[in-house]
């Protein structure tokens, strides 16, 4: 019950703030609503046995990234609504229409999926398809240990590759934003 309540509140928070992000005229408001939405997500993550991710969500996303957003907004002095932001012409109805259509399509497909877990007999020749195979421990699912275990074995390469992404970002930001090179 508590679960449901938490879910309900968090979900409402996520969706409502997300809508406000889109609807707010002020960029600052949008950013703040986005933070709110991300916080809601963190709650949901927690509920979904992902405490580490929940923490990261709060610290990195809602914290660092959104602060960066706010910082840039203030830096540029664009903390007012754009003049003529609402002048979109046909784009607005079309945008709403197709966004709804997309939502409807995805929703339709989600609803069409078999509800819950259908347990089927395990055919003899079927092999385990888990990425981590037997290494995944059902018991400590969601723990930081389990995450770390996956990260540094199965996903070691990806972890290393991330360094390149970050390096690129670093260099790129310097190139683009440094006033004098």
């Amino acid at each position: 019950m508590a679960d449901t309540l938490i879910f309900g509140v968090a979900a409402f928070l996520i969706i409502a703030s997300a809508m406000m992000v889109v609807a707010s005229r002020h960029p600052i408001h949008s950013a703040l609503f986005l933070v709110l939405s991300f916080l809601g997500l963190a709650v949901i993550f927690f509920q979904l046995n992902a405490p580490f991710l929940a923490a990261v969500q709060v610290i990195v996303y809602a914290g660092a990234i959104m602060v960066l957003f706010l910082f840039v907004i203030m830096l540029l002095g664009e903390d007012k609504p754009l003049p003529g932001e609402s002048r979109l012409g046909i784009q607005l109805p079309l945008g709403i229409l197709f966004a709804l259509l997309l939502a409807a399509q995805i929703g339709y497909m989600l609803i069409r999926q078999p509800a819950g877990r259908t347990v089927v007999a395990r055919p003899p020749d079927v092999q385990l398809v888990h990425a981590a195979g037997e290494k995944a421990q059902y018991a400590d699912f969601g723990s930081v240990k389990a995450l770390g275990n996956e990260l540094y074995t199965q996903y070691l390469f990806a972890f290393e590759a991330t360094s390149i992404v970050l390096l690129v970002a670093m260099v790129g930001v310097v190139v683009l934003a440094k006033r004098r090179l």
Binding site: R112, R117, F157, V168
Partner: protein, 559 residues
């Protein structure tokens, strides 16, 4: 797991191409910080080329070894021939882009500092990202690779920071790229939810079997609707990168706005990477669902070819025209992809045909890389000419218009001749590389009975001839003023003014551009003979797949 095991499983030699390139990129970045401008300009390209060379050599060393990084059953990164072949293509793009970038990086008024280190470094790191895509065996790596290459390209597109167009290109590319990445990621999430894995072979197996087994021993059906959503969103995400219609609209703007060497790099490398990803995902992972996505991709292929070619007709800027042309080429490549898929997963799977077709796509990418790079190299050369003449390269009118080529052939016969070769090759006229590329792709499509698609492709080729030949016509148009100048050979300085046409030539040529143009031209024409070596390799690359396990019913090709 001990460290020994780790080092056994995770053999860094497999990553030699990526590592060497990364190391050199770091070196380039560091040198850029420490050396003087002049030294940088001379040293860095050499260093970058050296890195590319070592990377290519290590790629060659890995050829046919079929090594993987990690436990062969679950490794998320492999160095099979498919990946290695793509690495070569990326390296072609990288090398050519480095060669033609020389003048772009030369100091200009207002800049106190040369940013060559960052420029080459980003290009090399972007190439590493492409390599990740080609070697990916997991959607995660695929995603990371795409993001790596894209983020680097976002920056490169905006590298002419003073130029409005460059800013604009960068912003558009970034916003739309991130938007597309959202689709891609959501698609991956859906696929993950449906199949329980992001590892290609596992996804393929799950789809083939229609169910997945959980860790607790129970099994669950693969929810088809969610899988399909995932597939559709993946198609959108990858389609954006490959510039398929209707996800192509960023292409002309970004290509036109970016600095020309970057555009060249983007058009070759990013496109090849996108097709590597596409080949991984559609004929590969989703191969057994071929019947379901066939028609959609077919429509996209037709649209891509047609829209790209038709809009290209009315372009007046050479660069923008080449941008549309690259859209059209994506369409042709898609024909090859479809042929490959049909061969591998059609009514009667035919391994050989599938290899031929995939090899055809790879071969086409090589040809495309060469001819497109060549064309862009000439374009860069022409821009340099104008630059030398003192035109403001940051101005918004900096793009070369097709009409400005008028009479070029009589002043610069070799440059004009080279551009002619590249354009003819892009149009697919024998006996150029482009022709052989088209030949194989259409041939395989015919083999798979996709006659209608081939006819559309042929019709499009005819349309494309119009805009490819327009610059040729312009170049070979006798220009009275030019005739008075007498012969103008490529390296001879000649006088003459006039801002309207590109007349005066005061050594805008660097060794790099000459090399790029000559090598590309030789390769494009030499494909008559070279293809005897290249195509079998491409075919090997398609066939020698390291990892996808055999599942019932589907032919485990194309990874």
């Amino acid at each position: 797991m001990t460290l020994d095991q780790l080092s056994q499983n995770y053999n860094l030699a497999v990553l030699a191409p990526e590592l060497s390139l990364t190391l050199f990129a770091l070196a380039v970045l560091l040198f850029g910080a420490f050396f003087t401008d002049e030294t940088q300009r001379r040293l860095l390209p050499v260093l970058a080329l050296l890195g590319a060379g070592i990377s290519a050599a290590s790629t060659a060393a890995l050829w046919d070894k079929g090594r993987v990084f990690g436990d062969p059953a679950t490794a998320i990164y492999v160095a099979d021939n498919f990946a290695l072949f793509f690495k070569w293509i990326f390296l072609i793009g990288l090398v050519a882009a480095i060669l033609i970038s020389g003048r772009f990086l030369s100091p200009r008024s207002g800049d106190s500092h040369v940013v060559a280190g960052e420029y080459y470094g980003l290009m090399m790191l972007s190439t590493v990202g492409m390599m990740f895509v080609s070697g990916a065996r997991d959607l995660l790596v695929l995603f990371l690779g795409i993001e790596t290459l894209s983020i680097a390209l976002y920056v490169l597109a905006g590298f002419s920071r003073r130029r409005f167009m460059s800013n604009e290109a960068s912003l558009k590319y970034f916003l739309l790229g991130a938007f597309a990445a959202g689709f891609l990621l959501y698609g991956i999430a859906m696929v993950y939810f449906a199949t329980g894995s992001t590892l290609f072979p596992h996804i393929a197996t799950a789809i083939a079997q229609g169910q997945i087994t959980m860790a607790d021993g129970t099994a669950r059906a693969v929810p088809q609707p969610i899988l399909f959503i995932g597939m559709a969103l993946l198609l959108i995400g990858l389609g954006f990168k490959a510039a398929l219609v209707p996800f192509h609209q960023w292409t002309p703007d970004v290509y036109e706005g970016s600095p020309t060497p970057v555009t060249a790099f983007m058009a070759v490398g990013a496109k090849a990477a996108a097709f590597a990803a596409f080949l991984h995902v559609f004929p590969g992972v989703f191969g057994s669902l071929y019947g379901q996505w066939l028609n959609v991709v077919l429509v996209i292929a037709v649209l891509t070819m047609t829209v790209g070619n038709i809009i290209a007709i009315s372009q007046s800027s050479l660069k923008r025209m080449l941008a549309y042309s690259s859209i059209a080429h994506a369409g042709y490549l898609l024909v090859g992809v479809l042929a490959a898929s049909a061969a591998a997963h059609g009514g009667s799977p035919d391994l050989e045909a599938a290899r031929d077709a995939t090899g055809g796509v790879l071969f086409y990418l090589v040809a495309y890389a060469l001819m497109n790079m060549g064309a862009f190299a000439v374009l860069v050369y022409l821009e340099n000419v104008r630059d030398v003449q003192g035109a403001d390269r940051d101005s918004e009118e900096a793009n070369i218009r097709i009409s400005e080529l008028s009479g070029l052939a009589w002043r610069q016969p070799l440059v004009a001749g080279a551009l002619t070769v590249f354009l003819l090759s892009l149009a697919g006229i024998p006996p150029t590389a482009g022709f052989f590329g088209k030949f194989i792709i259409f041939r395989e499509a015919v083999r798979q009975g996709l006659i209608g698609l081939v006819l559309v492709g042929v019709l499009n080729t005819v349309i494309s001839v119009y805009y490819y030949l327009r610059p040729v016509l312009s170049m070979y148009t006798p220009d009275e003023a030019a005739q008075n100048m007498g012969s103008g050979d490529m390296l001879v300085e000649s006088t003459g003014g006039g801002a309207a046409t590109l007349r005066s030539v005061a050594r805008p040529l660097s060794l790099g551009i000459v090399l790029a143009i000559v090598l590309c031209a030789v390769a494009v024409i030499g494909m008559v003979i070279l293809q005897a070596a290249v195509f079998p390799m491409a075919r090997d690359a398609a066939g020698l797949s390291a990892s996808v396990p055999v599942t019932q019913g589907a032919v485990p090709l194309l990874r």
